[in-house]
Amino acid sequence: MVCGGTGCRAAASDTIDENLKEELKSRNLENDVQVVTTGCFGFCEKGPIVKSLPDNTFYTEVKPGDASDIVKEHVIKGRKVERLLYKDPNKKTTVADSKDMGFYKKQLRIALRNCGFIDPENIEEYIARDGYEALGKALLEMTPADVIEQVKASKIRGRGGGGFPAGLKWQFAANNKADQKYVVCNADEGDPGAFMDRSILEGDPHSVLEAMTICGYSTGATKGLIYIRAEYPLAIKRLNIAIDQAREFGLLGEDILGSGFDFDVELRFGAGAFVCGEETALIHSMEGERGEPTIKPPFPAESGYLGKPTNVNNVETFANIPAILNQGAEWFAGIGNEKSTGTKVFALAGKINNVGLIEVPMGTTLREVIFEIGGGIKDGKKFKAVQTGGPSGGCLTEEHLDTPIDFDNLLAAGSMMGSGGMIVMDEDDCMVSVSKFYLDFTVEESCGKCAPCRIGNKRLHELLNKITEGKATRQDLEILRNQSEVIKDTALCGLGQTSPNPILSTMDNFWEEYVAHVDDQKCPAGQCKDLMNYIIDEENCVGCTACARVCPVGAITGERKQLHEIDTSLCIKCGACMEKCKFNAIFIK
């Protein structure tokens, strides 16, 4: 198997493929040994990769010329080509079997344990993989207090972004006495580019139902509600099927597993407002009120849905619970690091080769995620920044790449964990435009209740516009920073308090880019249309007139076979001329 990932292909893996095939053919082995290309192994740093089956031999940094050695030695004589084997950097020994490589232990699937393995519409497949066993254990062998102790001991923190210890939250809800309590699952996933919760609900809905029932038992609630966006139709369909099946099997409803405990789950649909991911706004939305947050306290654990004690957790938090009870809290607490235990699911997106859904133990570094699991930056471009935490998070740079991913380290670096969106940017991304993109989002999603968020973010957005148009002054930059700080301190809820984060973190890490926009009216990444000019290169232009003919506004003039010129006052910067030019004679300045 020859890696056909972008990184390896750039290092001539396709020639390796051809050479191997030829070498085999010349020895009449083409029918006995097959050569196939694969998707990215994710080990691009040591590429190109060639793996041989069935012995799992893993060759790294293979060159086209190595093909004959691999065939001669490995295939014919059955001896491993020692010099191409992966060398363990710590032990300085070679590793022949890929299963022994530390690299393969980068990802660990706990929340995603069933996602992509079972048929989500068939409860039997879930049960065959330990499904509902944690519930049985909790209901029949543990007291509610025992369950809470286990969750506390696992030290799991809320996966929705806040990172509040889930065990404590359960404890608060359990402590409050009431005739009726509720368990709510927050499935209002709203960060741009994030699809962790959707994937869990679509791939393993029963794990969430099971965990909600366990939570109900330990907190004394008998009703569960899942608040989910109406724009997730497939997740809703599969949840409904799962709820019906669980009821049919007696795993939801009255007297679950003969324990005398009753619990049932219903769905509540949201119209897709970002602020409804905030738990008080979410509860108001479920009550049929406007989806606006209210000041805490009172916390939902005291007075939540319909004024009753309510425990709200995120989808991913719930998905971890059955595994914690089945494998033990200590096992879970042993994964990750001291203050952030377990794993985190990320939706890896942006300018990265292996866009996808990943789950890594806490403490994995950004570098490992981006360059090893993610396969590095697209088209061999240079890494510039990684955005975590969605519109509330920040951008981290090259110098942060070795930061371990956990709640506290990301916060210390100026970003946050968030719910798990991770967007990678390359050298062509303008950081001012990136913060403008996030502000676009928060301005749109602000519920309008408090002035700092409603008015302040709008002002921030205007300032960013001014900067990208090259009309801002140094004073504007100062106002931008001050106002960001004020909004952070004074906004009512999490949305407003975190909305200036993308600006602050990019100002901290990419200050020179802001300055370039203001002082020199230049966009270093060449993204801000108002700040760039298309220029014709005198040396390369042959006067073919192709650019002049394609220009929609007639801004290009010049005689045949003569140097052409662009009138920058007419140019609308559409880029059509540059695309058309066959002589690389048009560039952006």
């Binding site: 198997m1 056909g4 097959q34 196939v36 290309t37 694969t38 998707g39 192994f41 994710g42 793996k51 393969y104 232990k105 980068k106 990802q107 660990l108 699937r109 995603l112 344990r113 996602c115 992509g116 393995f117 048929d119 989500p120 519409e121 068939n122 039997e124 497949e125 049960i127 065959a128 499904g131 509902y132 066993e133 049985g136 254990k137 209901l139 029949l140 062998e141 699809f195 959707r198 994937s199 679509e202 791939g203 393993d204 497939l234 997740a235 049919e248 099997f249 007696g250 597993l257 003969g258 595994a323 494998q327 080769n353 292996n354 866009v355 996808g356 859904l357 990943i358 789950e359 699991i373």
Partner: protein, 133 residues
């Protein structure tokens, strides 16, 4: 289906279901089933997983191959959707990416019929809970 009334009943059901699955996956009789899973979360479906699912189900039957095709959730390889996992009797499962109906045809003819590998294998790069136990 009658309700499950105790933990013991649940456990019994689990081991029965497991045996059923194990028989299906590890059976060494030539007559045992080929198992195909199609990743059908929103992203998979958007890339055409439904067509691939229907194609595989129809074609495997037409070509008299004893197989069961099921849907599953997101396997995580968004860059290579649609993705399918094929488990031949007694073999480790293999995931193929970028599967359209043409690729599916190639997989049936080459891999499922003759155990010949085809391009587009996605290497597994994660551990599961069971690996860590």
């Amino acid at each position: 289906m009658s309700k499950i009334k105790s933990l013991a009943e649940l456990k019994k059901m689990k081991s029965e279901l497991r045996n059923k699955v194990t028989l299906r996956e590890k059976g060494d009789h030539p007559e045992s089933l080929v198992q195909v899973r199609v990743g059908m979360a929103t992203s998979g479906i958007a890339s055409g997983a439904k067509e691939v699912y229907n194609y595989l189900a129809d074609e495997l039957e037409k070509r008299n191959i004893d197989a069961v095709v099921t849907q599953t959730g997101d396997m995580g390889y968004s860059y290579a959707e649609p993705t399918i996992e094929v488990t031949l009797p007694g073999k480790e499962p293999i995931v193929f990416g970028w599967v359209d109906t043409r690729k599916a045809d190639e997989i049936i003819e080459k891999y499922i019929r003759n155990e010949e590998l085809v391009d587009g294998i996605i290497p597994q790069n994660y551990e599961t809970i069971d690996d860590r136990k």
